[in-house]
């Protein structure tokens, strides 16, 4: 029953306008970051491209994938340009993060200082030190955070982020807050050290001013993480779009994500997408009908704008396939089943 109703709304002519309205595109602060989140395989990349296509009809838009699965470059056919921003068409630009090489170049710069400071590591060659640093907790998340931050400094109005699996994404969203807290403590301690150093230098040598590179670095880091924290906690600066499938595990993950962003960031999702909804006959064959209906009923009770997209006979594999899929977004599904 639920699925029959949804199919009536496949031909929504102004679906692009409705999505733009949901995203509140005219009133949000630019650049605006849209994080598309969900379990692996739910269609995050497809939804990201759809949103980017819609947003780029009015605004200069960057679709960036920080998902190591690298599906974006396959859809867009930009295999040879990992790590570069390329124009897809008109207002739409794309960027696929090359995680491995970015981590490598970052760790190499750290490794030089580590080898310099910790002589015991001199028995290892640079590659070994780089390998050790690569496994430092939080490094991968740092690379993701830097990529997003860097994108916000460019001349884009909308940045649609195709995120890595949920666990990592949630850490990306909450780490800036944790890091800012630690930096506050370190700054407090360092300021005390610098104040004492000033007293000593002034008393003994009459120096009027002393500079401390570590303190300056701490201030810079605090500014950087505060900017990211503000980005993720402000609904004017960012939006969260959660993608799920009508299956228990992806849906449970979506509910957990909503809980997480509500509790830790005091945010609500801007849009919930139920993707790959099975047509009724297919759901029956797969013995998924009642499970799917239960999930859809529950989905419709969630507090956020919602859209439903039916599963297509052939999975979208090109930009044209995805553009065609936009017309199949059902923005009124939950209104109709009430």
């Amino acid at each position: 029953m639920l699925l029959e109703i949804s199919s009536q709304y496949f031909q929504v002519s102004n679906v692009r306008e409705k999505v733009l309205e949901i995203l509140d595109v005219d009133s949000v602060v630019k650049p605006h970051v849209v994080m598309v989140m969900g379990k692996g395989g739910v269609g995050k990349t497809t939804i990201s491209i759809m949103l980017a296509l819609i947003a780029s009809s009015k605004f200069k838009t960057l679709i960036m994938s920080i998902d190591p699965a690298m599906h974006l470059i396959q859809y867009l056919g930009i295999m040879d340009v990992k790590g570069k921003i390329v124009n897809v068409k008109g207002n739409l630009w794309a960027y696929q993060l090359d995680l491995e090489s970015t981590i490598r170049s970052l760790t190499e710069s750290y490794a030089i200082h580590i080898r310099d400071l910790l002589p015991s590591l001199k028995v290892l060659n640079l590659d070994d030190v780089v390998d050790i640093v690569k496994n430092v907790p939080g490094l991968e998340e740092e690379v993701y955070m830097r990529s997003i931050h860097e994108a916000t400094t460019m001349n884009f109005e909308f940045i649609i982020v195709d995120t890595p699996p949920t666990g990592i994404t949630l850490r990306i969203l909450t780490l800036p807050k944790l890091y800012t807290l630690w930096l506050e403590r370190l700054i407090e301690l360092r300021e005390r050290i610098v104040a004492l150093r000033y007293v000593i230098a002034r008393t003994l040598y009459g120096e009027k001013e002393i500079k401390d590179r570590a303190l300056e670095k701490l201030y810079k880091l605090r500014e950087y993480y505060s900017t990211l924290e503000k980005l993720y906690t402000s609904q004017q600066h960012s939006s969260f779009i959660l993608v799920s499938n009508p299956e228990p595990v992806p849906y449970m993950e979506t509910l957990n994500t909503i809980k997480h962003i509500t509790q830790n960031l005091n945010r609500k999702p801007k849009l919930l997408v139920m993707n790959k909804v099975l047509p009724e006959y297919e759901a029956k064959i797969l013995n998924m009908k009642s499970i799917q209906e239960d999930i859809l009923r529950n989905f419709c009770t969630l507090e956020a704008p919602k859209v439903v997209i039916m599963k297509t006979p052939k999975p979208p594999s090109t930009l044209t396939d995805i553009a065609d899929l936009i017309d199949k977004i059902n923005t009124d599904y939950c209104l109709e089943i009430q």
């Binding site: 400071l117 910790l118 002589p119 430092v136 907790p137 890091y179 360092r190 004492l196 000593i200 570590a214």
Partner: protein, 98 residues
């Protein structure tokens, strides 16, 4: 000749006074220097600890970021450790196999 002796004596007195002033200054800042050194050792322990297996709570990424700016302090801490001035510095020295 007399003037020469007087000048030498006067110079010696000035030197003594200067040294005395210097000694007063040194003694007046010694307590501050002690506090400074201990705070610096604490700071370096907090920052470098996560990189050598000491759990201090500071995220390792922050430690890695600050690393390039604390080289001089770290070397100073090491030299203090060689002179047996502090335990924390000594600990770092052991960790860095010196």
């Amino acid at each position: 000749m007399v003037i020469k002796v007087l000048r030498k004596t006067l110079n010696n007195i000035i030197s003594i006074i200067r040294m005395q002033i210097e000694a007063f200054r040194e003694s007046s800042v010694s307590a501050i220097r002690l506090e400074h050194n201990e705070l610096e050792a604490s700071f370096l322990t907090m920052v470098l600890g996560p990189l050598v297996g000491i759990v201090t709570g500071v995220p390792p990424v922050i430690s890695l970021e600050i690393l390039s700016e604390i080289g001089d302090e770290f070397r100073y801490l090491e030299s203090r450790a060689f002179r047996g001035e502090d335990v924390i510095g000594d600990l770092f020295s052991v960790l860095s196999s010196e």
